[in-house]
């Protein structure tokens, strides 16, 4: 037996190298596994290099842009001065509205759903595998970023944290084919699901044919998935298909955020561990 093992040790070793990861894949499937100490070590080694490279390239691009921008800065300054005056008057009006809103909320004993801390982060790299559309950001467990938290920009939602280590986290984008987000139409409050379909528009699913939705409608998160806070912009409805038969209507959603050109993001919401036991996970990476 021992001599047989010795004789075939090379093919055996190669067989193990081939079949062990296959078995791991078939067992864990699309869920993947949590990072172990080797994973964390490799990420700790590569992520700072990614960050350094990104900073170098950004620095070079910014230097060129700054030079070009300086040429038209006087005209722009005048225009901004005028815009600033307009904005200040708008802010005063909004301040009044905000105070009124606060009084009314108090009157109605409305408890605003606080999604948790907001952590700013910078995108340092893109996942080199096309199978899963994800990016790596420069904030991790040390900064209060954990798996399950949502990632947004001022324009709208970006995705969800799927893995966090020391100072870095990986974020699966909403455009990824495995992504599902619980959404509603802002105008009519009709509910549905936004599904990722690779690079490009999202798909509006599970929207009943009788629901009121039109081309150009703004789609926002409904918050019912327990992942994304309610009211965040997802995108706008395009290519609405209302068929004569069937239960649901279908549409494309043009994402509000161009996920291929991300730079700075904000991590918000609660991690999986902080979710209530009864919370649903409709809007999650499946």
């Amino acid at each position: 037996m021992l001599s047989l093992l010795k004789r075939y040790r090379r093919p055996l070793l190669v067989g193990i190298l081939l079949l062990y990861p296959l078995a791991a894949f078939l067992v864990s499937g699309r869920r993947g596994r949590d990072p172990n100490f080797i994973d964390r070590g490799v990420i700790a080694l590569t992520a700072p290099v990614q960050q350094g490279l990104t900073a170098t390239i950004d620095g070079a691009v910014a230097a060129v842009r700054n030079y070009l921008d300086l040429r038209g800065v006087r005209q722009e300054n005048d225009a901004l001065h005028l815009e600033n005056l307009q904005l200040r008057s708008t802010v005063q009006v909004l301040g009044e509205t905000r105070a009124e809103n606060g009084r009314l909320r108090k009157l109605l004993a409305y408890a605003e759903a606080v999604p948790g801390p907001e952590v700013p982060a910078r995108v340092v790299g893109v996942n080199p595998v096309a199978k899963l559309l994800s990016v790596r950001i420069s904030s991790g467990e040390q900064d209060g970023v954990f798996r399950g938290m949502s990632v947004v920009t001022p324009d709208g939602i970006v995705g969800q944290v799927i893995r966090a280590t020391g100072g870095y986290a990986d974020v699966a984008l909403v455009t990824d084919p495995q992504s599902r987000v619980a959404v509603r139409v802002q105008r009519s409050r009709a509910r549905g699901t936004a599904a990722g379909a690779g690079n490009g528009p999202l798909t509006l699913e599970n929207m009943l044919r009788t629901e009121d939705v039109e081309d150009g409608d703004l789609i926002i998160t409904s918050g019912t998935d327990g992942i994304y806070p309610p009211g965040l912009v997802v995108g706008r409805v395009t290519h609405l298909e209302k068929k004569e038969h069937g239960m649901f209507q279908r549409a494309d959603i043009l994402p509000a955020v161009d996920t291929s050109r991300l730079e700075e993001v904000l991590v918000v919401g609660s991690p999986y561990s902080a979710m209530a036991p009864g919370a649903t996970a409709e809007g999650s990476q499946k």
Binding site: Y20, S28, V126
Partner: protein
């Protein structure tokens, strides 16, 4: 030593690619630098050394993907073994023939990746992966053209025999 050099090159290439893809804004059109490396291993490395290196390279790719499942580790070893088999039938010497060889390897790797992704996705949406593949294979071929001299240089440095003055 060769194993460590291979892992180091893979790590550097993946990190560089990840940043460049982010800067260029390419989402689906990726360059499979690891497949180029595995293709080179299939041509030049011994069975065990190559399989171990391919395993390590695949693991790194899995790790960079954000959701390590083992799929890319398996595919890297499989691509290495298939490449070794194919290399007994074809003669790959210059940069151009290596680029064609790497493109073939990338096509096989991509199709298998799409197949296994289809197996594990609930809705089985693989159209985005397949539609981006021609560009990905072409970019990988270009990368192979550029990387071939680099790999050859590393290989020569590794194979240098220790002498009196070294």
């Amino acid at each position: 030593m060769k194993f460590l050099v291979t892992v180091g090159i893979a790590l550097a290439l993946l990190t560089l690619e990840s940043v460049l893809v982010q800067q260029a804004g390419l989402v689906l059109g990726r360059v499979d630098v690891t497949v180029v490396l595995v293709a080179f291993l299939a041509l030049r490395a011994s069975l065990v050394e190559g399989a171990l290196s391919a395993f390590a390279v695949g693991y790194l790719l899995d790790l960079m993907s954000g959701q390590p499942t083992g799929l890319f580790t398996f595919l890297a070893v499989l691509t290495f073994l298939a490449g070794r088999l194919v290399s007994t039938f074809v003669d790959v010497r210059g940069a151009v023939s290596f680029a064609l060889f790497a493109m073939g390897a990338d096509l096989g790797h991509g199709l298998l990746s799409a197949f296994f992704t289809w197996l594990t996705l609930k809705d089985g949406i693989t159209a985005p992966l397949l539609s981006g593949m021609p560009l990905q294979v072409a970019l990988t071929g270009l990368a192979a053209l550029g990387l071939y001299p680099l790999f050859k240089r590393f290989e020569t440095a590794q194979d240098r025999q220790p002498g009196l003055l070294r």
